[in-house]
Amino acid sequence: MKRLAPNALLGGFLIGTLIVVALIGAVWTPYDPLQLSFRAKLAAPSAAHWLGTDEFGRDVGSRLMAGAATSAWISLLTVTLAVVFGTAIGVVSGYVRGWFDRIVMAFNDALLAFPGILLALGLLAVLGANKYGIIAALGIAYTPSVARIVRGAVLSLREREFIAASRVMGNSELFTMARHILPNCIAPLTVLATSMFGYVLLAESALSFLGLGVPPPAPTWGNMLAGSRPYIGQAVWLGIFPGLCISLTLLGINLLGDAVRDRLDPRMRGM
């Protein structure tokens, strides 16, 4: 057992905290995150409201707790969707090459050229403006990027000696893909997936900024951040706290991602 690096510990701590907060937030919050209180509008952080209140007098801390679960769920599902489909497309396409690759990449590039906002608009109109609509829209929007990155890595990998060796040894193409290509894509994938986790948290907030909200009043970190913008001069805590939550989550995932990659990397195994 390799000693855990301090970075991995920090990452684990941050993500652990997130999970605990999300779990608590799902069942209990200090205040009702949806309860308006006109007398306590835009109150600065105080003993009663540790993280202040928003423009409707709702407790920011409670909203962050409640939003943790929603945000984490949306991001997790979106990233999973994109990574699973993107990797499958990328590995097969990059390994097989030839006409198959070209046709798949034609579709992939077409999808990639679509701005996420138009895709989101279309899918939200069809699926309804709820969190599954957002997950589907963003998932589909991110799949082609994953496919392209993975394909790039595979293109480079398949020229390496050990792949040729596997073929020479008479292993089937499928086996070579699963045993040798796929594990070697883990590194770029973890980086991509962790970046995407952040993108998804933020994509939602960009959609809100441009006038396309995820169904509030249910809080998510993304829509809290977007909604805070007009108050930047009067109530800066409205943006700082959700922003900080997103930052720390990202940092945690990132550090943890590094550790996981070290563990999964075939060359590091048994060391």
Partner: protein, 518 residues
Amino acid sequence: MNRILASAFALALSAGTFQVHAVQAQTLTAVLNADMRSSNPGVNRDDNTDTVVLHIVEGLVGYDEGGSVGPLLAEKVDLSQDGKTYTFTLRKGVKFHNGAELTSADVLWSWTRYMDPKTDWRCLGDLDGRNGLKVVSATAPDANTFVMELNAPNALFLDTLARTDCGGTAIIHKDSVKADGSWDKPIGTGPFKLGEWKRGQSIQLLAYEGYVSPKGATRDGMLGSKRPLVKEARFMVIPDAATVKAGLMAGSLDIASVPEIDAAELKAHPKLNVVTGTNPVRHGMIIQTRDPVLKNVKLRQAIAASIDFPELVANVTNNLGQPNNSPIYMTSKYFGEAEKQGFKYDPALAKKLLQEAGYKGEKITILANKRSTAPSFNTAVIAQQMMQAVGINADIEVLEWATQLDRYNKGNYQMEAFSYSGRFDPALGFEQISGPKDKQPRKVWEDPEALALIDKSMVVADVTERQKIFDDLHKRFIEQVPTIFTHNDVDIVAHSKRVSGVKPWMSKLRLWEVGVAN
């Protein structure tokens, strides 16, 4: 090198004029949240287009400060005994921007162009008989007189001509269109000429030295004194309110409409001032009276009784607006004692009404959008909370504006937090929301008796009699709750203290009679 010489020369020249019109030396910078669609009055337009274009062109008649119609390019308007023939006598000495004198031939030419379906004039349908009113003939008996004859008397004919979305039925010179009849640029009689228009960026207006203002010592809506006091005015296109705020504080912008939440902060700024005014735009929530749940009038009354309007409006407008449940706007001359009687906030009554309505917790979805120009989202959030407090299972769905508008036009909603654009005459304000849903699914109120009353109010010219009709309509409206109006829109205009004479009016920025100090 040449350019430097040229600009030095221009500077010397402008220094010369500077001596004469000291007040005219400065440039005024105002803000639009989106570019105008075209410079073609009443054709390819939206609110921003109207705002800009009405600095350049003028019609025979226009609105005054209170929303009544008065002569603009006309000296006077005479109505025949039978109420069907309007005679417009033109003001003398009015010149177009190209120097040509205004005559009735120009009026006739403009009118003929508007009535040609190829022009795509927005208000054609309101004047060619499709919606009842028809202009049967238009003639120019002499250079100074223009005569129009209607199919039947109509109290709203001049209103229609003055409407800002009709481009004020502007009289333009025939060189405004190209030889092939397509639009070129507006050559009007207004206080400003159109300068350089950088699409998506800015619109430059240049003072028209030969401008002849209508009579009046002060500015009065689109009438009264309309002198250009600055040499150059510029509308900058800035979509983001936060950027506008920064621009005002930095001194790069002089005049801009700002959202409620910024009013206090901007007012406290040493270099800025904030002025407000109520306009006829009505905010509220429309209700689908054909919805299986909401068709029950008792349930609709329960919703109205569940809402604490003073609280809601104070929060939505940041304490700048006042509640008004009437379809008639507060500054209208028809807004009287009867119209002040709105919905009453009474949670106990709301609960009782819910019981009587047999409400069993069916979900009621309020559609809302997050456009910065309308309080839709905030209204929905607060109303949802208040409705939930009496036991109504209210939900919110946030849509992009075009999608919400589509649902509105199809009548496909339960409730929508919605805003109706301003109509100066209450009859038009009622007409906007009422009509048979079979023919026009977008209409919210289809009580046949009310519809008959509205039709009557369009023909009757007598003010007292109209007041009675409107009072009656208001009362029925409050009883039947086809829509819950919460308040009228508040124009909030922030301006630099070096600028004088800024006054908000009906959501339109007016740059005439606005001066810049050094």
